[in-house]
Protein backbone atom coordinates (compact mmCIF):
# COMPACT_ATOMS: atom_id res chain seq x y z
CA UNK A 1 0.00 0.00 0.00
CA UNK A 2 2.97 2.24 0.29
CA UNK A 3 3.02 2.80 -3.44
CA UNK A 4 1.90 6.20 -4.56
CA UNK A 5 -0.79 6.32 -7.19
CA UNK A 6 -1.01 8.72 -10.08
CA UNK A 7 -3.94 11.06 -10.59
CA UNK A 8 -4.44 13.90 -13.04
CA UNK A 9 -6.55 16.83 -11.90
CA UNK A 10 -7.36 19.46 -14.53
CA UNK A 11 -4.39 18.27 -16.54
CA UNK A 12 -1.95 18.55 -13.64
CA UNK A 13 -0.48 15.16 -12.69
CA UNK A 14 0.31 14.38 -9.07
CA UNK A 15 1.12 11.36 -6.94
CA UNK A 16 -0.77 10.70 -3.77
CA UNK A 17 -1.07 7.93 -1.21
CA UNK A 18 -3.86 5.41 -1.85
CA UNK A 19 -7.04 6.21 0.02
CA UNK A 20 -6.70 9.95 -0.48
CA UNK A 21 -9.84 11.74 -1.54
CA UNK A 22 -9.90 13.71 -4.78
CA UNK A 23 -10.32 16.92 -2.78
CA UNK A 24 -7.21 16.26 -0.73
CA UNK A 25 -5.26 15.32 -3.85
CA UNK A 26 -6.29 18.65 -5.38
CA UNK A 27 -5.29 20.44 -2.20
CA UNK A 28 -1.84 18.88 -2.49
CA UNK A 29 -1.51 20.56 -5.89
CA UNK A 30 -3.10 23.75 -4.61
CA UNK A 31 -4.10 26.83 -6.53
CA UNK A 32 -7.28 27.43 -8.46
CA UNK A 33 -8.07 23.81 -9.12
CA UNK A 34 -8.99 23.04 -5.50
CA UNK A 35 -12.74 22.49 -5.34
CA UNK A 36 -14.48 24.65 -2.75
CA UNK A 37 -15.77 22.80 0.31
CA UNK A 38 -18.45 24.01 2.67
CA UNK A 39 -18.94 20.95 4.85
CA UNK A 40 -15.73 18.92 4.54
CA UNK A 41 -13.18 19.67 7.25
CA UNK A 42 -9.93 17.77 7.17
CA UNK A 43 -9.57 17.89 10.96
CA UNK A 44 -13.00 16.43 11.59
CA UNK A 45 -13.53 12.77 10.98
CA UNK A 46 -16.60 11.85 8.99
CA UNK A 47 -17.27 15.39 7.74
CA UNK A 48 -18.07 16.01 4.10
CA UNK A 49 -20.55 14.74 1.58
CA UNK A 50 -23.35 17.08 2.59
CA UNK A 51 -23.07 20.36 0.77
CA UNK A 52 -22.11 19.09 -2.72
CA UNK A 53 -20.09 22.19 -3.56
CA UNK A 54 -16.98 20.10 -4.17
CA UNK A 55 -18.53 18.24 -7.12
CA UNK A 56 -16.05 17.24 -9.81
CA UNK A 57 -16.19 15.30 -13.03
CA UNK A 58 -14.24 12.06 -13.27
CA UNK A 59 -13.50 11.72 -16.97
CA UNK A 60 -11.47 8.55 -16.54
CA UNK A 61 -12.19 6.15 -13.70
CA UNK A 62 -8.80 4.46 -13.44
CA UNK A 63 -6.07 2.77 -15.44
CA UNK A 64 -7.85 -0.60 -15.24
CA UNK A 65 -11.33 0.71 -15.92
CA UNK A 66 -11.03 3.87 -18.02
CA UNK A 67 -14.78 4.48 -18.25
CA UNK A 68 -15.81 7.90 -16.89
CA UNK A 69 -18.05 8.02 -13.85
CA UNK A 70 -21.65 8.49 -14.94
CA UNK A 71 -22.38 11.47 -12.70
CA UNK A 72 -20.46 14.24 -11.03
CA UNK A 73 -19.01 13.02 -7.77
CA UNK A 74 -18.42 14.72 -4.44
CA UNK A 75 -14.64 15.01 -4.37
CA UNK A 76 -14.43 15.01 -0.58
CA UNK A 77 -15.97 11.55 -0.40
CA UNK A 78 -14.50 9.92 -3.51
CA UNK A 79 -11.08 8.34 -3.24
CA UNK A 80 -8.59 8.52 -6.04
CA UNK A 81 -7.76 5.46 -8.17
CA UNK A 82 -4.55 4.84 -10.07
CA UNK A 83 -4.61 6.75 -13.34
CA UNK A 84 -7.79 8.67 -12.54
CA UNK A 85 -8.45 11.83 -14.50
CA UNK A 86 -10.50 14.52 -12.82
CA UNK A 87 -11.90 17.74 -14.22
CA UNK A 88 -12.82 20.61 -11.98
CA UNK A 89 -12.42 24.10 -13.42
CA UNK A 90 -11.85 22.77 -16.92
CA UNK A 91 -15.32 21.28 -17.07
CA UNK A 92 -18.23 23.63 -17.79
CA UNK A 93 -20.55 20.91 -16.53
CA UNK A 94 -18.98 21.12 -13.07
CA UNK A 95 -19.17 24.90 -13.03
CA UNK A 96 -22.82 24.77 -14.00
CA UNK A 97 -23.58 22.18 -11.33
CA UNK A 98 -21.76 24.23 -8.74
CA UNK A 99 -23.83 27.25 -9.64
CA UNK A 100 -26.91 25.14 -9.02
CA UNK A 101 -25.55 23.98 -5.67
CA UNK A 102 -24.89 27.55 -4.59
CA UNK A 103 -28.40 28.52 -5.57
CA UNK A 104 -29.68 25.60 -3.54
CA UNK A 105 -27.60 26.55 -0.49
CA UNK A 106 -28.88 30.11 -0.72
CA UNK A 107 -32.54 29.13 -0.90
CA UNK A 108 -33.11 29.50 2.80
CA UNK A 109 -30.21 31.80 3.50
CA UNK A 110 -31.43 35.23 4.58
CA UNK A 111 -28.63 37.07 2.69
CA UNK A 112 -28.27 39.50 5.55
CA UNK A 113 -24.57 40.00 4.93
CA UNK A 114 -24.69 43.71 5.85
CA UNK A 115 -25.72 42.66 9.35
CA UNK A 116 -23.84 39.40 9.66
CA UNK A 117 -20.57 39.39 11.59
CA UNK A 118 -19.15 36.70 9.34
CA UNK A 119 -19.30 38.90 6.25
CA UNK A 120 -15.84 39.36 4.82
CA UNK A 121 -14.62 35.95 5.92
CA UNK A 122 -17.69 33.91 5.02
CA UNK A 123 -17.18 30.92 2.78
CA UNK A 124 -20.70 31.06 1.48
CA UNK A 125 -20.18 34.69 0.53
CA UNK A 126 -17.04 33.81 -1.39
CA UNK A 127 -18.75 30.90 -3.04
CA UNK A 128 -21.79 32.94 -3.95
CA UNK A 129 -19.62 35.71 -5.32
CA UNK A 130 -17.66 33.28 -7.47
CA UNK A 131 -20.33 30.90 -8.61
CA UNK A 132 -23.70 32.30 -7.70
CA UNK A 133 -26.30 33.95 -9.87
CA UNK A 134 -27.06 37.61 -9.42
CA UNK A 135 -30.71 37.18 -8.55
CA UNK A 136 -32.69 34.53 -6.78
CA UNK A 137 -35.45 32.58 -8.47
CA UNK A 138 -36.96 31.53 -5.17
CA UNK A 139 -40.39 33.04 -4.62
CA UNK A 140 -41.52 31.42 -1.41
CA UNK A 141 -41.01 32.42 2.18
CA UNK A 142 -37.64 31.46 3.55
CA UNK A 143 -37.70 29.48 6.72
CA UNK A 144 -37.01 31.70 9.70
CA UNK A 145 -36.02 31.08 13.26
CA UNK A 146 -35.55 33.25 16.28
CA UNK A 147 -31.90 33.61 17.15
CA UNK A 148 -30.74 31.42 20.00
CA UNK A 149 -28.10 32.02 22.64
CA UNK A 150 -25.97 28.95 23.11
CA UNK A 151 -24.44 29.88 26.41
CA UNK A 152 -23.47 33.48 26.93
CA UNK A 153 -20.65 33.43 24.39
CA UNK A 154 -22.09 31.88 21.25
CA UNK A 155 -24.91 33.23 19.15
CA UNK A 156 -26.79 30.87 16.88
CA UNK A 157 -28.55 32.31 13.85
CA UNK A 158 -30.33 29.29 12.50
CA UNK A 159 -31.53 31.31 9.47
CA UNK A 160 -28.03 31.40 8.09
CA UNK A 161 -27.16 27.75 8.70
CA UNK A 162 -26.49 25.51 5.74
CA UNK A 163 -26.52 22.30 7.80
CA UNK A 164 -22.93 21.34 7.17
CA UNK A 165 -22.75 19.44 10.50
CA UNK A 166 -19.24 20.72 11.16
CA UNK A 167 -20.12 22.13 14.56
CA UNK A 168 -21.74 18.86 15.53
CA UNK A 169 -18.57 16.99 14.63
CA UNK A 170 -16.49 19.47 16.59
CA UNK A 171 -18.59 18.92 19.65
CA UNK A 172 -18.47 15.17 19.13
CA UNK A 173 -14.77 14.83 18.49
CA UNK A 174 -13.08 17.60 20.42
CA UNK A 175 -15.30 18.07 23.39
CA UNK A 176 -17.00 15.52 25.58
CA UNK A 177 -20.71 15.46 26.18
CA UNK A 178 -22.14 17.07 23.12
CA UNK A 179 -25.31 18.88 24.04
CA UNK A 180 -26.28 20.32 20.69
CA UNK A 181 -27.19 18.53 17.53
CA UNK A 182 -29.54 18.47 14.62
CA UNK A 183 -33.20 18.29 15.47
CA UNK A 184 -35.88 17.44 12.94
CA UNK A 185 -35.51 15.93 9.52
CA UNK A 186 -35.30 17.13 5.95
CA UNK A 187 -36.63 20.60 5.50
CA UNK A 188 -37.24 20.95 9.21
CA UNK A 189 -33.71 20.05 10.27
CA UNK A 190 -32.11 22.62 12.52
CA UNK A 191 -29.10 22.94 14.77
CA UNK A 192 -30.20 23.34 18.30
CA UNK A 193 -29.79 22.32 21.89
CA UNK A 194 -32.61 20.97 23.96
CA UNK A 195 -34.16 23.70 26.10
CA UNK A 196 -31.36 25.98 24.91
CA UNK A 197 -28.96 24.22 27.20
CA UNK A 198 -25.73 26.11 27.44
CA UNK A 199 -22.63 24.53 26.01
CA UNK A 200 -19.97 25.01 28.63
CA UNK A 201 -17.15 22.84 27.44
CA UNK A 202 -13.64 24.21 27.31
CA UNK A 203 -13.38 23.83 23.55
CA UNK A 204 -16.95 24.72 22.56
CA UNK A 205 -15.83 28.03 21.06
CA UNK A 206 -14.31 26.19 18.12
CA UNK A 207 -17.80 25.75 16.74
CA UNK A 208 -17.58 29.42 15.78
CA UNK A 209 -14.40 28.90 13.80
CA UNK A 210 -15.55 25.82 11.92
CA UNK A 211 -18.89 27.32 10.92
CA UNK A 212 -18.49 28.25 7.24
CA UNK A 213 -21.32 30.79 7.44
CA UNK A 214 -22.48 33.24 10.08
CA UNK A 215 -24.76 30.81 11.87
CA UNK A 216 -22.49 30.49 14.87
CA UNK A 217 -20.81 33.73 15.84
CA UNK A 218 -18.86 35.05 18.78
CA UNK A 219 -21.17 36.98 21.06
CA UNK A 220 -18.31 38.92 22.57
CA UNK A 221 -17.53 40.26 19.08
CA UNK A 222 -21.14 40.76 18.09
CA UNK A 223 -21.53 43.96 16.04
CA UNK A 224 -18.29 45.36 17.47
CA UNK A 225 -16.74 45.95 14.09
CA UNK A 226 -16.79 44.67 10.55
CA UNK A 227 -14.12 42.07 9.87
CA UNK A 228 -12.35 44.23 7.31
CA UNK A 229 -11.80 47.10 9.73
CA UNK A 230 -9.88 44.85 12.10
CA UNK A 231 -6.24 43.91 11.74
CA UNK A 232 -5.25 40.27 12.16
CA UNK A 233 -2.09 39.65 14.12
CA UNK A 234 -0.56 36.26 14.92
CA UNK A 235 0.15 35.68 18.58
CA UNK A 236 0.66 32.90 21.09
CA UNK A 237 0.63 32.33 24.81
CA UNK A 238 1.42 29.58 27.23
CA UNK A 239 -1.90 27.87 27.62
CA UNK A 240 -2.26 24.78 29.79
CA UNK A 241 -5.25 23.43 27.86
CA UNK A 242 -4.54 24.22 24.21
CA UNK A 243 -1.67 25.11 21.89
CA UNK A 244 -2.26 28.81 22.51
CA UNK A 245 -1.57 29.75 18.89
CA UNK A 246 -4.16 32.25 17.80
CA UNK A 247 -4.96 35.22 15.59
CA UNK A 248 -5.80 38.44 17.37
CA UNK A 249 -8.09 40.85 15.56
CA UNK A 250 -7.14 44.37 16.49
CA UNK A 251 -8.97 47.60 16.07
CA UNK A 252 -6.62 50.34 17.11
CA UNK A 253 -5.06 49.22 20.38
CA UNK A 254 -7.94 47.00 21.32
CA UNK A 255 -8.25 43.26 20.74
CA UNK A 256 -11.79 42.79 19.55
CA UNK A 257 -11.68 39.09 18.86
CA UNK A 258 -9.48 36.05 19.23
CA UNK A 259 -9.76 33.20 16.75
CA UNK A 260 -7.77 30.13 15.91
CA UNK A 261 -5.38 30.41 13.00
CA UNK A 262 -6.85 29.35 9.71
CA UNK A 263 -4.95 27.85 6.82
CA UNK A 264 -5.38 28.64 3.14
CA UNK A 265 -8.47 26.45 2.89
CA UNK A 266 -10.13 28.28 5.77
CA UNK A 267 -9.58 25.41 8.16
CA UNK A 268 -8.42 25.86 11.71
CA UNK A 269 -4.79 24.81 12.19
CA UNK A 270 -5.06 24.09 15.89
CA UNK A 271 -8.18 24.30 17.98
CA UNK A 272 -8.02 26.74 20.85
CA UNK A 273 -9.69 26.74 24.23
CA UNK A 274 -12.37 29.09 25.47
CA UNK A 275 -10.05 30.84 27.93
CA UNK A 276 -7.83 31.96 25.06
CA UNK A 277 -10.80 32.89 22.94
CA UNK A 278 -12.96 34.87 25.31
CA UNK A 279 -10.99 35.87 28.38
CA UNK A 280 -7.60 36.97 27.07
CA UNK A 281 -8.43 40.11 25.16
CA UNK A 282 -5.47 42.14 26.21
CA UNK A 283 -2.21 42.64 24.37
CA UNK A 284 -0.20 41.92 27.51
CA UNK A 285 -1.59 38.38 27.66
CA UNK A 286 0.01 37.51 24.34
CA UNK A 287 3.36 37.21 22.64
CA UNK A 288 2.91 38.93 19.29
CA UNK A 289 4.51 37.15 16.35
CA UNK A 290 3.63 39.63 13.63
CA UNK A 291 0.89 40.56 11.22
CA UNK A 292 -1.04 37.75 9.63
CA UNK A 293 -0.54 37.22 5.92
CA UNK A 294 -3.74 38.07 4.12
CA UNK A 295 -4.42 37.24 0.51
CA UNK A 296 -4.25 40.19 -1.84
CA UNK A 297 -7.73 39.43 -3.07
CA UNK A 298 -9.19 39.45 0.41
CA UNK A 299 -11.51 42.25 1.46
CA UNK A 300 -9.42 42.53 4.59
CA UNK A 301 -6.64 43.78 2.38
CA UNK A 302 -8.18 45.93 -0.25
CA UNK A 303 -10.93 48.05 -1.60
CA UNK A 304 -11.87 46.19 -4.66
CA UNK A 305 -14.34 47.18 -7.32
CA UNK A 306 -15.09 45.04 -10.31
CA UNK A 307 -18.30 46.37 -11.67
CA UNK A 308 -19.24 49.89 -12.62
CA UNK A 309 -22.77 50.98 -11.83
CA UNK A 310 -24.12 53.40 -14.40
CA UNK A 311 -25.20 56.73 -12.94
CA UNK A 312 -28.92 57.53 -12.94
CA UNK A 313 -28.38 60.09 -15.66
CA UNK A 314 -26.62 57.56 -17.84
CA UNK A 315 -29.36 55.01 -17.26
CA UNK A 316 -31.96 57.31 -18.79
CA UNK A 317 -29.98 58.75 -21.63
CA UNK A 318 -29.36 56.48 -24.60
CA UNK A 319 -26.66 58.71 -26.07
CA UNK A 320 -24.68 58.56 -22.81
CA UNK A 321 -25.17 54.81 -22.67
CA UNK A 322 -23.71 54.46 -26.12
CA UNK A 323 -20.81 56.73 -25.22
CA UNK A 324 -19.97 54.67 -22.13
CA UNK A 325 -20.57 51.31 -23.74
CA UNK A 326 -16.92 50.36 -23.90
CA UNK A 327 -16.36 51.33 -20.29
CA UNK A 328 -19.26 49.19 -19.11
CA UNK A 329 -18.05 46.22 -21.08
CA UNK A 330 -14.60 46.50 -19.61
CA UNK A 331 -15.87 46.56 -16.06
CA UNK A 332 -18.46 43.83 -16.40
CA UNK A 333 -17.61 40.83 -14.25
CA UNK A 334 -16.58 37.78 -16.20
Amino acid sequence: MADKIKVIIDGIPTEVAPGTSILNAARQIGGDIVPPAMCYYSKLEGSGGKCRTCLVKVSKGSEKDPRPMPKLVASCRTNVMDGMEVQNITSPEVQEARKGVVEMLLINHPLDCPICDQAGECHLQDLGYKHGAEATRYEFDRRTFERIDIGDKIQLHMNRCILCYRCVYVADQITENRVHGILGRGDHAEISTYIEKAIDNDFSGNMIDVCPVGALTDKTFRFKSRVWFTKPVEAHRDCPTCSGKVTLWYKGEEVLRVTARKDQFGEVEEFICNTCRYDKKDTKDWVIEGPRKVSRQSVINSNHYEQMQPLPVVKKNLALQAANKEEFERTTKL
Binding site: D112, C113, P114, I115, A119, R222, F223, K224, S225, R226, W228, F229, V299, N303, Y305, Q309, L311, P312, V313
Partner: protein, 174 residues
Protein backbone atom coordinates in the same frame (compact mmCIF):
# COMPACT_ATOMS: atom_id res chain seq x y z
CA UNK B 1 15.34 81.50 -32.51
CA UNK B 2 12.95 79.27 -34.43
CA UNK B 3 9.93 78.14 -32.43
CA UNK B 4 9.84 74.37 -32.06
CA UNK B 5 6.07 74.13 -32.01
CA UNK B 6 5.66 76.57 -34.85
CA UNK B 7 2.78 78.22 -33.05
CA UNK B 8 4.63 81.25 -31.85
CA UNK B 9 3.42 84.50 -33.37
CA UNK B 10 5.80 87.41 -33.48
CA UNK B 11 4.06 90.75 -33.22
CA UNK B 12 5.27 93.55 -35.38
CA UNK B 13 5.37 96.88 -33.61
CA UNK B 14 4.69 99.76 -35.95
CA UNK B 15 4.77 103.41 -34.92
CA UNK B 16 1.25 104.69 -34.07
CA UNK B 17 -0.50 107.06 -36.47
CA UNK B 18 -2.19 110.32 -35.49
CA UNK B 19 -5.59 108.90 -34.43
CA UNK B 20 -4.01 106.19 -32.43
CA UNK B 21 -1.83 108.69 -30.67
CA UNK B 22 -4.93 110.66 -29.67
CA UNK B 23 -6.22 107.58 -27.65
CA UNK B 24 -9.73 109.09 -27.48
CA UNK B 25 -11.45 106.82 -30.05
CA UNK B 26 -10.07 103.73 -28.26
CA UNK B 27 -11.26 105.06 -24.90
CA UNK B 28 -14.76 105.69 -26.24
CA UNK B 29 -14.93 102.26 -27.81
CA UNK B 30 -13.94 100.69 -24.49
CA UNK B 31 -16.46 102.78 -22.54
CA UNK B 32 -19.20 101.79 -24.98
CA UNK B 33 -18.57 98.11 -24.26
CA UNK B 34 -18.67 98.75 -20.53
CA UNK B 35 -21.91 100.75 -20.90
CA UNK B 36 -23.55 98.00 -22.94
CA UNK B 37 -23.06 95.53 -20.09
CA UNK B 38 -25.37 97.59 -17.89
CA UNK B 39 -28.33 96.49 -19.99
CA UNK B 40 -27.40 92.82 -20.18
CA UNK B 41 -28.98 90.10 -18.05
CA UNK B 42 -27.26 89.66 -14.69
CA UNK B 43 -25.43 86.35 -14.24
CA UNK B 44 -25.07 86.63 -10.48
CA UNK B 45 -27.30 84.44 -8.34
CA UNK B 46 -27.74 85.66 -4.81
CA UNK B 47 -26.99 82.46 -2.90
CA UNK B 48 -28.27 81.51 -0.34
CA UNK B 49 -31.46 83.55 -0.92
CA UNK B 50 -31.74 82.10 -4.38
CA UNK B 51 -30.36 78.74 -5.44
CA UNK B 52 -29.09 77.71 -8.80
CA UNK B 53 -30.78 74.69 -10.29
CA UNK B 54 -28.69 71.58 -9.67
CA UNK B 55 -27.94 68.97 -12.27
CA UNK B 56 -29.58 65.60 -11.99
CA UNK B 57 -26.46 63.89 -10.74
CA UNK B 58 -25.46 66.66 -8.38
CA UNK B 59 -23.86 65.33 -5.21
CA UNK B 60 -24.38 67.47 -2.16
CA UNK B 61 -24.75 66.78 1.51
CA UNK B 62 -25.41 63.20 2.54
CA UNK B 63 -28.68 62.12 4.01
CA UNK B 64 -29.44 58.88 5.77
CA UNK B 65 -32.77 57.66 4.53
CA UNK B 66 -35.76 56.16 6.26
CA UNK B 67 -38.04 53.51 4.81
CA UNK B 68 -41.79 53.79 4.16
CA UNK B 69 -42.51 53.16 7.82
CA UNK B 70 -40.09 55.81 8.99
CA UNK B 71 -37.44 53.39 10.22
CA UNK B 72 -33.77 54.07 9.64
CA UNK B 73 -32.48 52.05 6.74
CA UNK B 74 -28.80 52.09 7.70
CA UNK B 75 -27.60 48.86 9.21
CA UNK B 76 -24.01 49.93 9.88
CA UNK B 77 -22.54 47.39 7.48
CA UNK B 78 -19.50 49.60 6.97
CA UNK B 79 -19.40 49.33 3.19
CA UNK B 80 -19.62 53.12 2.79
CA UNK B 81 -16.67 53.56 5.09
CA UNK B 82 -14.80 50.85 3.20
CA UNK B 83 -15.46 52.42 -0.15
CA UNK B 84 -14.70 55.96 1.00
CA UNK B 85 -11.43 57.04 -0.62
CA UNK B 86 -11.13 59.99 1.75
CA UNK B 87 -11.78 57.99 4.93
CA UNK B 88 -14.45 60.44 5.93
CA UNK B 89 -17.00 58.04 7.36
CA UNK B 90 -16.93 56.34 10.73
CA UNK B 91 -19.63 54.52 12.59
CA UNK B 92 -20.34 52.47 15.66
CA UNK B 93 -22.89 49.71 15.37
CA UNK B 94 -25.35 48.67 18.01
CA UNK B 95 -27.89 45.94 18.35
CA UNK B 96 -31.56 46.73 18.14
CA UNK B 97 -33.33 46.05 21.40
CA UNK B 98 -36.79 44.61 21.72
CA UNK B 99 -39.33 47.38 21.27
CA UNK B 100 -37.18 49.43 18.91
CA UNK B 101 -38.50 47.76 15.78
CA UNK B 102 -40.28 50.93 14.74
CA UNK B 103 -37.03 52.89 14.84
CA UNK B 104 -34.58 50.69 13.01
CA UNK B 105 -35.28 48.44 10.09
CA UNK B 106 -32.64 45.80 10.73
CA UNK B 107 -31.30 43.91 13.67
CA UNK B 108 -28.24 46.10 13.76
CA UNK B 109 -28.14 49.86 13.40
CA UNK B 110 -25.63 52.67 13.49
CA UNK B 111 -25.63 54.13 16.96
CA UNK B 112 -23.04 56.70 15.88
CA UNK B 113 -22.59 57.70 12.28
CA UNK B 114 -20.21 60.48 11.48
CA UNK B 115 -19.09 62.05 8.24
CA UNK B 116 -16.24 64.50 8.24
CA UNK B 117 -17.34 67.04 5.65
CA UNK B 118 -13.84 68.48 5.45
CA UNK B 119 -12.49 65.13 4.37
CA UNK B 120 -15.40 64.21 2.11
CA UNK B 121 -14.73 64.75 -1.57
CA UNK B 122 -18.36 64.12 -2.60
CA UNK B 123 -17.42 61.33 -4.98
CA UNK B 124 -20.59 59.37 -4.27
CA UNK B 125 -18.91 56.01 -3.76
CA UNK B 126 -20.68 55.55 -0.43
CA UNK B 127 -23.97 55.92 -2.24
CA UNK B 128 -22.91 53.28 -4.74
CA UNK B 129 -21.63 50.89 -2.09
CA UNK B 130 -24.71 51.01 0.14
CA UNK B 131 -26.60 47.71 -0.06
CA UNK B 132 -29.58 49.10 1.86
CA UNK B 133 -30.14 52.28 -0.17
CA UNK B 134 -29.65 54.17 3.03
CA UNK B 135 -27.26 56.95 2.07
CA UNK B 136 -27.77 59.46 -0.72
CA UNK B 137 -25.86 62.61 -1.55
CA UNK B 138 -29.02 64.46 -2.44
CA UNK B 139 -28.78 67.36 -0.03
CA UNK B 140 -27.79 71.00 -0.56
CA UNK B 141 -24.29 72.47 -0.54
CA UNK B 142 -22.61 71.84 2.78
CA UNK B 143 -22.64 75.20 4.59
CA UNK B 144 -19.52 76.96 5.76
CA UNK B 145 -18.63 77.03 9.41
CA UNK B 146 -15.99 78.39 11.74
CA UNK B 147 -14.68 75.39 13.66
CA UNK B 148 -13.27 72.15 12.33
CA UNK B 149 -15.25 70.12 14.82
CA UNK B 150 -18.48 71.55 13.46
CA UNK B 151 -17.80 69.89 10.13
CA UNK B 152 -18.10 66.44 11.61
CA UNK B 153 -21.73 65.73 10.94
CA UNK B 154 -23.43 63.23 13.18
CA UNK B 155 -26.74 61.47 12.91
CA UNK B 156 -28.60 64.56 14.11
CA UNK B 157 -27.72 66.34 10.88
CA UNK B 158 -27.60 63.41 8.51
CA UNK B 159 -30.69 61.36 9.23
CA UNK B 160 -33.77 62.30 7.29
CA UNK B 161 -36.60 63.79 9.27
CA UNK B 162 -39.36 61.30 10.01
CA UNK B 163 -42.34 61.63 7.70
CA UNK B 164 -44.67 62.64 10.53
CA UNK B 165 -42.44 65.53 11.51
CA UNK B 166 -42.13 66.66 7.92
CA UNK B 167 -45.91 66.71 7.56
CA UNK B 168 -46.26 68.68 10.77
CA UNK B 169 -43.71 71.17 9.47
CA UNK B 170 -45.61 71.55 6.23
CA UNK B 171 -48.89 72.05 8.04
CA UNK B 172 -47.32 74.75 10.18
CA UNK B 173 -46.03 76.56 7.12
CA UNK B 174 -49.39 76.54 5.31
Amino acid sequence: MESLSGRKKVLEQKPMNFWERMYLPAIFRGMAITFMHMFKKKETIYYPEKEREFSENWRGMHSLKRDEQGRERCTACGLCALSCPAEAITMIAAEREKGEEHLYREEKYAAVYEINMLRCIFCGLCEEACPKEAIYLDGPIVPADYLRKDFIYGKDKLVEQPITELEALKAAQD
